[in-house]
Amino acid sequence: MVKFFRRNKTLQLFGLISPGALWILLFFNLPLLIVLFISFVERGRAGSIKLPPVYTIENYRQLFNACASAFAGPECDPFLYIGIFGHSMRIALVVTFWCILLGYPLSYFISRQRQVWRDALMILVIIPFWTNFLVRTYALKQVLATEGLLNSFLINLHLINQPLDLLFNEFAVIVGLLYGYLPFAILPMYASIEKFDHSLMEAASDLGAPPWRAFLRVMLPMTLPGVIAALVLVFVPVVGAFITPDIMGGGKIEMIGTLINRQFGVSRNWPFGSSMSLILMLMVLIGVIAYFRSSSEDTRRAM
């Protein structure tokens, strides 16, 4: 028996792979299929689904026309949900833009330091990755709170008389997301800039290019893969974020993540929540796949 097992490669493979395959298929792929199924059935009275299931595409239509729902009031805005999707994407774009704008020069700065400093600064970039996201968001919330450090600091300087409302608005959500995801942007851009041969800049300058032109024509194109990686790494998690908009927005700022969460909480509309989750997942996957396609093309071209 044991000998048979040792000789038989197929059986070995089966033994090694079946626990992982079973767990992932049962507790990841099957749940996703159930989301797909529920997104195509009608909701029941108690919040879950109607039994026996009645198939419908209403949950997807509702996303594009909020008034399609039977529960819609007379003053409903048909673009309510599309608006929230658009708003989330706008917030994600703004956050990504600032991440790259602040992160790129920082990556460049770090790459120009001496080895010891470079390592130390990179450790400082990496530490936030490993600290609890909730704790970091709380740290920022505490600084921006009405009774927080920033407000009392500004009041003591007599710059303001009344504490500013720094929390529970779009500004707070954007700053919170920027705070959470800035390290994600720095890492890939640093990897790209560190590999860049800086003597190329000197060559460009010797050939008469002013610094800005040398940057735009030489350095930026060559480090673009890092910038694009940063874009994907920030945009993808931010567009579906839940924790930051919930804590920093205090329930006043709606993003896709909080909207989905609400369908499983107070709104109790699981089919609609499911359809939105699938759309969100699709958006993210398209972005990631496009990124992998383009990055492999880049490497192919480089070779």
Partner: protein, 378 residues
């Protein structure tokens, strides 16, 4: 072309130097601002956890009262115990399964291999909230009705469903880390073992496994950290009564800002930085460090076992189960006592900074072990 480049003005040296000086100044300022932005809030959080009033804006004096109030908060201690139980079970199962999967994917060729590989990356890539609701719907709409109808078992969400879900999202992370280690693996070492007469199992046990160990331990600590930190998936798969640490913190943070949360956050920060430090040392360093972790953990458990055994004996009130548990902990101490000389022997070969790192590893593991033992036995 040559006419054009000749037409470029030659920049005066002075001007270029001034420009780079301003450029450097701007770069430095940006770096200071970004690091300030990332670290100041966390440093302020730590500072105000030691404040002696409830304010998180004015530091009035040093005190540790928030930490003492944490240690007496039963709700929090329960949450911490739950987090540890879920984390430990998740880590063991996910590490085992993830490692087996990595071995299978790296060493065998089969149909649908690339598809399954992509499928394993999927849980890392998709938004956490999607996986959370998928599991919520799976448990409530599929698994529980199925168990009810077929076996007549009434199941509800709780710590077991949280653990199952954590294992599901941890397997891919362990898989990625172990597989990266396997990719660098020199198969010639295994062939050498086979040439020297070792059979497949011996080769695996004596050559493959020890060389993979840093990756496996790195993956395990990563899995543990992720499980301890997870809020979103836990929130969708939790039961009515039990909560975990992140769930508890989340409920506090939503309510407002208090120095208790600062103290709790500081403790968590220390914990996760310690864990990740261990994880990185395990992945990049040699077996000296992984063994150091075992020695440290054994030492911590053993010391706590000795301490609690003595208090139990002196107080005179003991149960058979409690006594047995403490004796097991004391056995850990005896194991450390006996394996310590061998460990010291191994340390003599490492250089000075390696030695310091190894002792830090031992110390952190011991502290973690003592704290967890205290949490459960107090």
């Amino acid at each position: 072309m040559s006419a054009r480049s000749a037409a470029f003005p030659a920049y005066p040296r002075q001007q270029v130097r001034l420009r780079t000086r301003i450029g450097n100044w701007l770069l430095g300022t940006n770096a200071a601002l970004v690091f300030g932005f990332i670290y100041l809030p966390v440093l302020i959080l730590i500072l105000f956890s030691f404040n002696n009033t409830r304010s998180v804006a004015v530091f009035t004096g040093f005190s540790t009262e928030w930490y003492t109030s944490l240690a007496q908060n039963e709700e929090l201690l329960d949450a911490a115990r739950n987090s540890l139980v879920v984390g430990v079970i998740t880590t063991i199962v996910a590490t085992l399964i993830g490692t087996l999967t990595a071995l299978a994917m790296e060493r065998y060729r089969f149909k649908l291999r690339t598809t399954f590989d992509a499928n394993l990356y999927l849980p890392i890539v998709i938004p956490e909230i999607v996986m959370g609701i998928a599991l919520l719907l799976f448990f409530n709409q599929a698994l529980f009705p199925f168990l009810q109808n077929i076996f007549g078992i009434r199941a509800t969400t709780g710590l077991p469903t949280i653990t199952i879900s954590h294992i599901a999202f941890d397997i891919p992370f362990v898989y990625v880390i172990v597989r990266a280690r396997l990719a660098d693996f020199d198969r010639a070492l295994e062939e050498a073992a086979a040439d020297l007469g070792a059979d497949e199992w011996q080769t695996f046990k004596r050559v493959t496994l020890p060389l993979l160990m840093p990756g496996i331990i790195g993956g395990a600590l990563m899995a543990f950290t992720l499980s301890l930190d997870d809020y979103l998936i836990t929130a969708f798969t939790k039961g009515i009564r039990e909560q975990t640490m992140p769930l508890y913190i989340y409920s506090l943070v939503r309510r407002g800002v208090t120095p208790e949360i600062n103290a709790l956050s500081t403790a968590l920060l220390l914990g996760s930085i310690g864990l990740v430090g261990l994880s990185l040392t395990a992945q990049n360093g040699g077996p000296v460090y992984t063994k150091g972790m075992a020695v440290g953990a054994g030492l911590g458990l053993g010391l706590y076992g000795l301490f609690s055994l003595s208090t139990m004996l002196s107080s005179g009130e003991f149960t058979v189960g409690g006594l047995l548990l403490r004796l097991i902990l004391v056995a850990a101490f005896i194991w450390v006592w006996r394996s310590y000389p061998a460990y010291r022997e191994e340390l003599t070969d490492t250089n000075r900074s390696g030695k310091v790192l190894a002792w830090i590893t031992v110390f952190i593991s011991a502290a973690a072990a003592i704290l967890s033992a205290a949490l459960f036995l107090m």
